[in-house]
Structures are given as C-alpha cells and as structure tokens.
Amino acid sequence: MTVTVRPSVVPILWYQRPRDAIDWLCRALGFEALMVVDDGDGGVMHSELRFGDGAIYVVGPPRDGMNGASPRGVNGRNTQHVHLNLAEGLDAHCAQARAEGAAIEREPTDQPYGDRVYTCLDPEGHSWSFGQPVKAMSVAEMAEATGHRIDTPGAHG
C-alpha cells in the first residue's frame, strides 16, 4: 500500500453515504481513492483521496458526538468549502462533473483576478470551486481590476 500524498492542509468532508461519495468524487471530479478504512458498521472511518499533489479525506456517516454533518443534513449549510487549483483543462473538468450530475452553479468564467473558475455542488450539497490561471497578474493589477484593497503581509521582497 502506498500513501504518498501528505499535504500539510487536508480538508475532511462528512457524507451521509461516504462510499457513494467516494465513487462519485472519483468519477465526476477526478479524484483517486488511495485508501478506505471501514468503520465496521457500513460507514467509512477514514479515507484518502488524491488529486494531483493534493488530498481530501472522506468520512461518514456522522455519528452522535462527532460534531460532523453532511450539508444535506443541515439544510445546505456549509461550514467550509473546497477550492481546487487546476493547471489546465478547466472546461473539460466542468463538463465531466456536469455529466456525472454535479449541479453547476457558476459556469466556467474568466475572473478579474486572472483565473477561470467554475463552482458546483456535489450530490450531498458540499460546495466546490475550481480555478485555472489564464492570465498572470500582479497584485496591483488585481486590486485595480477588482476594486479591492489587497494586502500581502506575508510577501517578502
């Protein structure tokens, strides 16, 4: 067994039907399931899904005392959202997601900050966005284009 992807930040997503979700995320969004740990009761205690050098963990169904819920269980509310940065192929990615039943909420559109972006909801209502750089822009150009003030305290030099 090789579990080679260990990014420093990994979102853990709650699903009512985690096995269906893993299957769907692989078919529709291009994830690869590296590991699925049964909870012995039909659920998934832990799983690791890879996309490029990024990863997500899918778990569920939510049990009492876990503080977790699928958006489907809380009227579509999401306490987090997942964004994926694609190197290329954003429109084809969107077409694949749509073909597998994703609800496309924002069609692929060039954004003023230089990325082409689409957003969708998965079958349990988790909100996803996908971006691909289409135009390299400086911070000053982004500020100009968006009308927002942009501070970058972490940038050096």
Binding site: P11, N67, G68, A69, T79, E105
Partner: protein, 160 residues
Amino acid sequence: MMRPTIVPAVFYKDPIAALRWLEKAFGFEIASLITDGEGRLAHSELTYKGGALNVGGEWEGPIVGPARMRSPQTVEGINTQFVRIHLDDGLDDHCERARAAGARIVDEPTDQFYGSRTYRALDLEGHVWNFSQEVRVVSGEEMEKATGLKIHTSLSEVGS
C-alpha cells in the same frame, strides 16, 4: 505566490477576529488580505508549512446555488468539514500554544494505531481542527491487526 492544489475555505461570523486568532493560536501566516471599499474582508489566504487555506465571512449567493456558507456557531456547533493539518514535529508544543490562546482541546495529544500522534481542537467559533504528526510508519497489515478493521486501497474491493 505558490498555490497548493487543494485549498479549503473556512467560514466565520467574525473572520477578522478569526484571522488574528488563527495566527496566534496555530501559527498560520496571513499571505494576503483583500478588503472591499468599506474595509470588510472579501478574501484572505493563510499559509502554513506549504499548505494554504482561506478564511471568509458567512455568505450565500447565486454562484453557490442553494448552499449557504456558515460558521459552526450558527449551525449548533456542527461542521460539514474538518481540517487536518500535518506537522513535521512539535505537536505537543503546538497544542500548548493553541490551548494558551483559548483553543478548546477536545482530544489531548495521543499516539494513534496508524502511527500518528494527534490532537483535536475547537477554535473560537467551533471549527474542528485535527493536528497530526507521524511518529511511526505502520503497514496496512499492522493497522488491520491493531483495529480489526478492513483497510482497502481500491473501491473495487468493497461490495456496495
């Protein structure tokens, strides 16, 4: 700016206070802060050990359809996602720093059967953060023995 492939966005009622707290408690660094004409937070990016996350306020709108972005505080403490952060070292010190900043430590640092040492904390608005540091390499076989669970590396091994 380096862009990790997967970046979670975490929603707060008071995102500015959250940013300050995440810096102090967990050591995250603010890489960019975007504010609108009225000084409200529009977008922010935090980095930590090569990873990144966004912090934002509660919102909803046509670009996310029927989804509504909410703090756990407005969903009775429920989280639809948790965040896992992998540390190379210093997990226990990290936990003490978080505790001193007011994090609620719901699982103290503990060695897990899968070879990691982990702790779990709730932040000021109830987001669940899992911190993990690898302390031992464990094979899948060992894990199955330790837990009595089946560990699969492909869905095709799993009946539906």
